[in-house]
């Protein structure tokens, strides 16, 4: 989806996982930017029709970059700075709250 320019790639690396896959972001990335730079095409599916979506506005308006961050669903990836060791998962449709689903 995106690639880093030499300047962008020169920042300190941060390790994270997306749907279990190991990925590398850079200090200063938001989660959404890091996913785009790692070639992630879609970060969620919609709760209405299960259609795939990817970050669209990157400025907090569209809510298409929703992801699960360390187990907490429906977080705006474009407003959340990436941190080393984050476990990120795609938001599949409606958010399930574990205790509620049982």
């Amino acid at each position: 989806m995106f690639r880093l320019t030499p300047e962008g790639a020169a920042r300190p690396p941060l390790a994270f996982t997306f749907d279990g896959r190991a990925m590398t972001g850079r200090a200063g990335d938001t989660i959404a930017a890091a996913l785009l730079a790692n070639g992630v095409a879609a970060c969620r599916t919609t709760p209405v029709s299960d259609a795939p979506r990817a970050p669209y506005c990157l400025m907090g308006a569209c809510f298409d970059c929703l992801v699960v961050v360390d187990g907490v669903g429906n977080r705006q990836g474009c407003l959340t700075p990436l941190e080393d060791g984050m476990r990120i998962e795609s938001q599949r449709g409606r958010r399930a709250v574990a205790e509620l689903a049982s």
């Binding site: 995106f2 320019t5 930017a33 730079a37 979506r53 990817a54 569209c62 474009c78």
Partner: protein, 485 residues
């Protein structure tokens, strides 16, 4: 400047709370603090600058020519704010704003920071919530691979990232040409710029041309367009546009002057047709708004000191009407003078004297704006998509055809009833991406003006907070009586 990382460290009340750390907010907060007001600047992002100066203190794109001198001007504004005594709460969301229930003239502000909500009070507020890109509803605009031009610019500023593969940039307006040049300079492979500027727009803009000739936009604007035309494949008079692909973007289909379909294969499509004020917060606070015919958008109704219809709330910057970064900073500064006077820090004479040169500068800044507004007003087919299958509400996946049908057969005359019947505007984005389009479709179908059609009435939270955060806030006896019965 004192940065605050925990919502518990904020004071319970401030003289002035400024919302948004873009050009207007930085100037307003710095000026407020300089005049001795206890000032807090809250901002959703991790670093100051808003969108136009996004990541100006942290960007890896250090070669000044890539992002251009207008971007780097932001560093001075951030530096001034840093030198001030203002408190600064980054990564802090304002989710509500209302007159205090105790009727003591204070504004009560709901904040959320690090998963914790808090209510604080302000004697005066300045909303500097800036602009968002005007929705650009074309077939396929929900496909992964389609983004706004602003999004690509943010990725470039914050992360030094550019779209990979073949990039098509489509739409109209100064930001589009600026972005195309910036991305090209950063090494992106831009295979085409599809310009949707309406051929008739020049004619309606022409009466404003005199002002434009004397405006600061002229040289800058001409250079941008010339550069884009010279270096890139520039396709003018695009009248139809669609993103194609199954589960992700594969290409773009377009037509020129109503001609046959043409296709370009691409990996990224960046859309832009101007910006509009972000009015969600002022709308949810209950401020009166009016439809700006020239800029073709809603904006809060304001007086000379940018005060909204509700006491204690002023709106500065592009959130009050589009004027660009320089004008936003000036408006923030003027709004802060108004606050200082209302709070007794400045008498009316001193306020006016200090505001006079700022107003003169503002007038110079805004000269020629009307020409741009009229020239780059989107063509009707890009405001109200002709293809009924086009999604207009991205959250609830409501199509243009559904909206037209309800307007026509069920007699829906406004966006609020439309929301009730179709759920458009009920998703997490709260109508930010569909409100203008839904109104256009109703206006078109029922032959009404946009001012008559109206806008969504919004309520808190303007950004989601968790039920747990809300539940942990203070209750009152009256509230308990209203609920437990």
């Amino acid at each position: 400047m004192t940065p605050l990382a925990d919502v518990g460290r904020l004071a319970g009340s401030y003289d002035l709370v400024v919302v948004g750390a873009g050009p207007a907010g930085l100037a307003a907060a710095a000026a407020g603090a300089e005049s001795g007001l206890a000032t807090l600047l809250v901002d959703e992002n991790a670093t100051p600058g808003g969108q136009i100066w996004r990541a100006v203190t942290t960007t890896p794109m250090k070669r000044r020519e890539t992002l251009g001198e207008d971007f780097w001007k932001g560093a001075d504004h951030v530096a001034r704010f840093d030198r001030s005594n203002a408190a600064y709460a980054p990564r802090c969301t304002v989710w509500s704003l209302a007159a205090d229930a105790r009727d003591d003239g204070l504004i009560e502000i709901g904040l959320s920071m690090g998963g914790k909500a808090r209510m604080i009070a302000a004697r005066q507020t300045i909303l500097a919530t800036g602009a968002q890109e005007r929705p650009f509803p074309i077939p396929g605009w929900t496909l992964p691979g389609v983004m706004t031009a602003g999004a690509a610019q943010i990725a470039l500023k914050t992360s030094g990232a550019v779209p990979d593969g073949r990039v098509v940039v489509a739409g109209c307006g100064p930001l589009l040409y600026l972005l195309a040049n910036q991305l090209a300079a950063a090494g992106a492979n831009i295979v085409a710029v599809l310009d949707t500027t309406a051929p008739g727009a020049l004619r309606s803009a022409l009466p404003e041309f005199g002002d434009f000739l004397r405006s600061p936009y002229l040289a800058k604007g001409l250079r941008l367009v010339a550069q884009a035309r010279r270096k890139l494949r520039f396709v003018s008079r695009v009248t139809a546009l669609a993103a194609t692909g199954e589960s992700r973007l594969e290409g773009v289909r377009f037509a020129r002057g109503g001609g046959v379909d043409e296709r370009i294969a691409c990996d990224a499509l960046l859309l832009h047709q101007g910006v509009i004020p972000s009015i969600n917060l002022s709308n949810a606070a209950g401020c009166a708004h009016e439809f700006d015919e020239t800029q073709h958008c809603w904006r809060p109704r304001l007086d000379d000191w940018f005060c909204a219809s509700m006491a204690g709330i002023a709106v500065a910057g592009d959130g009050a009407g589009i004027g660009g970064a320089e004008s936003a900073a000036l408006r923030g500064e003027i709004a802060a003078l108004g606050v200082a006077a209302r709070l007794g820090r400045l008498d009316a004479g001193a306020r006016d004297a200090r505001a006079a040169p700022l107003r003169a500068e503002l007038a110079r800044c805004l000269r020629g704006r009307r020409f741009l507004d009229l020239l780059y007003r989107p063509a009707p087919q890009f405001l109200a998509p002709p293809d009924d299958a086009t999604i207009v509400c991205r959250c609830e996946e409501v199509t243009a055809g559904q909206v037209r049908d309800a307007a026509r057969r069920l007699g829906v005359t406004g966006p609020n009833q439309m929301k009730a019947f179709l759920r458009c505007g009920m998703g997490p984005c709260q109508g930010r991406l569909c409100g203008p389009t839904v109104a256009e479709l109703i206006a078109e179908t029922r032959d009404m003006s946009l001012a008559e059609v109206g806008a969504y009435r919004l309520r808190p939270p303007v950004k989601p907070i968790t039920l747990g955060e809300l539940a942990a806030l203070p209750q009152t006896e009256a509230a308990i009586r209203a609920v437990v019965r």
